[in-house]
């Protein structure tokens, strides 16, 4: 019997968005085929909802309802507004690569100051040229996750960055995503490859230009960290207050390689960061820390799956959330230890600090261990600020808000202090202080 699929209004709207965008998406032939397959995969699942375990607490069908039309190409006025935001968000000494409304903006980027051994292409350029199925498959790779499939189908631009074997890149590379539009969606995707023994720091910033509102961002990063290489990957999301940001990473870490990951979300109405890290080479190390700063009615979700595929790997994860007013935090972490991944050493802690009676935290740490000689653990706490600590500080002359700010800073410090390179730590700390300043 032939199965008849019925679609929701939102589902039909997304079909229309894809159909309308089709002519603007880079790549034909093989690439177009991969995109069509990815869109079919998305269509089968639709927007994630609470009956999918990984999305239990972030039901996009309820929270956003539908995918918005693709943002138009930025015009000169949009680029000028974006330039202001780029300047405000620039990390000291970083080489900037800027995407405005999902499109590479060379005039706002520092492509001429890239160091030797670093090659950067626009994703658009790569997709329009490639006939290489392996390359197309890599840059448009997906998981079973619907939003990553949708990203592969719709990605308009991004970067392909390769760092040659043994190169130690001195200046951080900062990818700045700027949204200038309203009630539109941006789909971006970047592919990053570090050769054997290479070292680099990559910062991804999500910001909005003045006047941008209600937009949706769907970003994906695919990264391959070569053997004995080290990558510091930092993600900072400070979108417009009513924006939606769904960002995903798929990262493979080679033998004796190191990934230091840090994510901070401090704005946006609905945000989800989801990372899928596979430790593929023996002796690899992961340090993954995340901070969610939440107020108003914001909903911020950080979800990470760490897959120990081989023996003798280490992972350390610390997730922290500070939730004020009616905000909601979701911190999910799953550690998977494959059969044979002996001597795995993995820990995960999720901690939420609730600053109001209406704040809500959902912490879900999980272990799935299929080997028998491992050290794995997880812990989770949620609670208010300790009144004894607040009184101690107030008895020294600090106001209620200043005492809270010091304690929140101390709480977050445990996650922030591990950011490398150290110069970026100060940048992140300044962002958290800015958030706390707004509370006073």
């Amino acid at each position: 019997m032939k199965q008849v699929m019925t679609k929701t209004v939102a589902g039909r709207a997304t079909d229309d968005v894809f159909a309308a965008a089709h002519g603007r998406l880079p790549g034909s032939g093989l690439v177009a085929h991969i995109r069509a397959r990815a869109f079919e995969a998305y269509q089968r699942a639709g927007l994630p909802h609470r009956r999918i375990e990984a999305w239990k607490y972030t039901d996009l069908r309820t929270l956003i309802g539908a995918v918005l039309p693709l943002a138009p190409r930025p015009d000169a006025a949009a680029l000028m507004r974006a330039a202001v935001s780029v300047k405000q968000t620039a990390v000291d000494r970083a080489v900037k690569l800027v995407l405005v409304d999902g499109i590479f903006a060379p005039e706002l980027s520092d492509v001429d100051s890239l160091e030797d051994g670093v090659d950067v292409w626009s994703l658009r350029e790569v997709l329009e040229d490639t006939t290489d199925s392996a390359m197309a498959g890599l840059v448009l790779s997906t998981t079973t996750d619907a939003v990553i499939s949708l990203n592969a189908a719709m990605a308009t631009d991004g970067f392909v960055i390769t760092i040659a074997e043994g190169e130690a890149v001195k200046r951080p590379i900062q990818i700045v995503h700027v949204a200038t539009g309203s009630l539109v969606s941006n789909f971006t995707r970047s592919y990053l490859q570090l050769g054997q023994g290479a070292h680099a720091a990559v910062v991804e910033s999500f910001v909005s230009a003045e006047g941008a509102s209600g937009y949706q961002t769907n970003d994906a990063t695919i990264a391959l960290v070569g053997d004995e290489a080290s990558l510091s990957h930092i993600r900072l999301a400070s979108d417009a207050a009513d924006a939606v940001n769904i960002s995903s990473s798929i990262i493979a870490v080679g033998a004796k390689a190191k990934l230091d990951f840090f994510s901070m979300t401090c704005s946006g109405s609905v945000s989800r960061y989801q990372g899928f890290v596979t430790l593929t080479g023996e002796g690899s190390k992961l340090s993954a820390n995340a901070v969610n700063l939440i107020r108003h009615k914001q909903h911020v979700d950080t979800t990470m799956v760490v897959d120990h595929a081989v023996p003798h790997c280490t992972s350390r994860e610390k997730f922290r959330a500070v939730i004020d007013e009616c905000g909601r935090s979701v911190l999910q972490g799953r550690i998977v230890v494959r059969p044979g991944a002996q001597k795995t050493d993995a820990t995960l802690t999720t901690r939420a600090l609730l600053l109001s009676d209406e704040a809500r935290a959902d912490n879900k740490p999980e272990l799935e261990i299929l080997a028998d000689d491992v050290t794995c653990g997880h812990g989770s706490t949620s609670g208010a600020l300790d009144g004894a600590l607040v009184f101690y500080l107030r008895a020294r002359g600090l106001s209620e808000k200043d005492a809270q700010a010091l304690l929140i800073g101390a709480f977050l410090g445990e996650a922030i202090e591990e950011i490398v390179p150290e110069s970026l730590r100060d940048f992140v700390t300044a962002q958290t202080e800015h958030w706390m300043q707004a509370r006073r």
């Binding site: 008895a395 020294r396 600090l398 106001s399 304690l407 101390a410 977050l412 410090g413």
Partner: protein, 250 residues
């Protein structure tokens, strides 16, 4: 006018009355010792003077320099010059002692419309005071009180007292958890802060502390009231006879 005047203070917590009509007057330049058995209300008195939430003041007044202290928030009392050295100082991982000291000092200076310390001036000042209390610089870089011994925590309290220069210091069982060497150092620090403009209230169970910090007045407290006041010799009498006679009198 006394620096601190407590008049007929009645205080309870969760419906249980702890201070039952307490009177106390402390002048600038004086050191008062308050002694008494466990549960007599000594710590409650120190908490209520410094503004700890959770207590119900049912009657009475606390005047500080003639102003109504009970109408002020804890931080306002601190900036006016009230300092409580805690019996059990809290630990705050993630906040270095140095950052905390700077935040506290500058919060107080700001409230008093004084210029905030610059970083070099602040560091110089902290180092001077820390050296005088045998506090190593490495301790200042650690999380506030995190992993500190009992002696280190109490020295850190005295360091804060020295930096913030309050006019009323309340030392709540500062001797608890100290060995004899640490006690000498802490007492030495406290004695160095005695001045004609500053008053101190030393709360303790034991006379031993008063060998090092010689009080001008000793009060015996029992069941929420001051039962007897006298000179330093009252502490010797207490050691000989214990607190029982005062509890019976209550």
């Amino acid at each position: 006018m006394a620096l601190l005047e407590v008049r007929d203070l009645h205080v309870g917590i969760e419906g249980c009355e702890i201070l039952r009509g307490l009177d106390l007057a402390v002048n600038a330049g004086e050191v008062h010792a308050i002694m008494g058995p466990n549960g007599s209300g000594k710590s409650t008195l120190s908490h209520v003077i410094s503004g700890k939430p959770g207590y119900q003041v049912n009657a009475g007044q606390i005047l500080f320099n003639g102003e109504d202290l009970l109408a002020m928030e804890a931080s306002e009392r601190a900036t006016r010059g009230v300092f409580l050295a805690f019996q059990y100082p809290v630990e705050i991982p993630g906040a270095t002692t140095m950052n905390f000291l700077r935040a506290a000092l500058n919060a107080q200076r700001k409230a008093r419309t004084q210029t905030e310390f610059s970083t070099p001036d602040f560091i110089k000042r902290v180092r001077e005071v820390a050296n005088s209390l045998n506090i190593p610089q490495s301790m200042l870089k650690r999380g506030l009180n995190v992993g500190f011994s009992g002696g280190e925590k109490k020295r850190n309290e005295i360091l804060q007292m020295a930096l913030l220069e309050p006019s009323l210091c309340i030392l709540d069982e500062i001797d608890s958890g100290l060995d004899i060497d640490a006690l000498r150092i802490v007492a030495g620090g406290i004695n160095s802060l005695r001045s004609s403009e500053r008053a101190m209230i030393v709360i303790s169970h034991y006379r031993r502390l008063l060998d090092y910090i010689v009080p001008d007045v000793v009060h015996v407290m029992s069941k929420g009231q001051i039962r007897k006041s006298g000179g330093k010799e009252l502490a010797l009498e207490l050691e000989a006879c214990g607190y029982a006679q005062f509890e019976d009198a209550a």
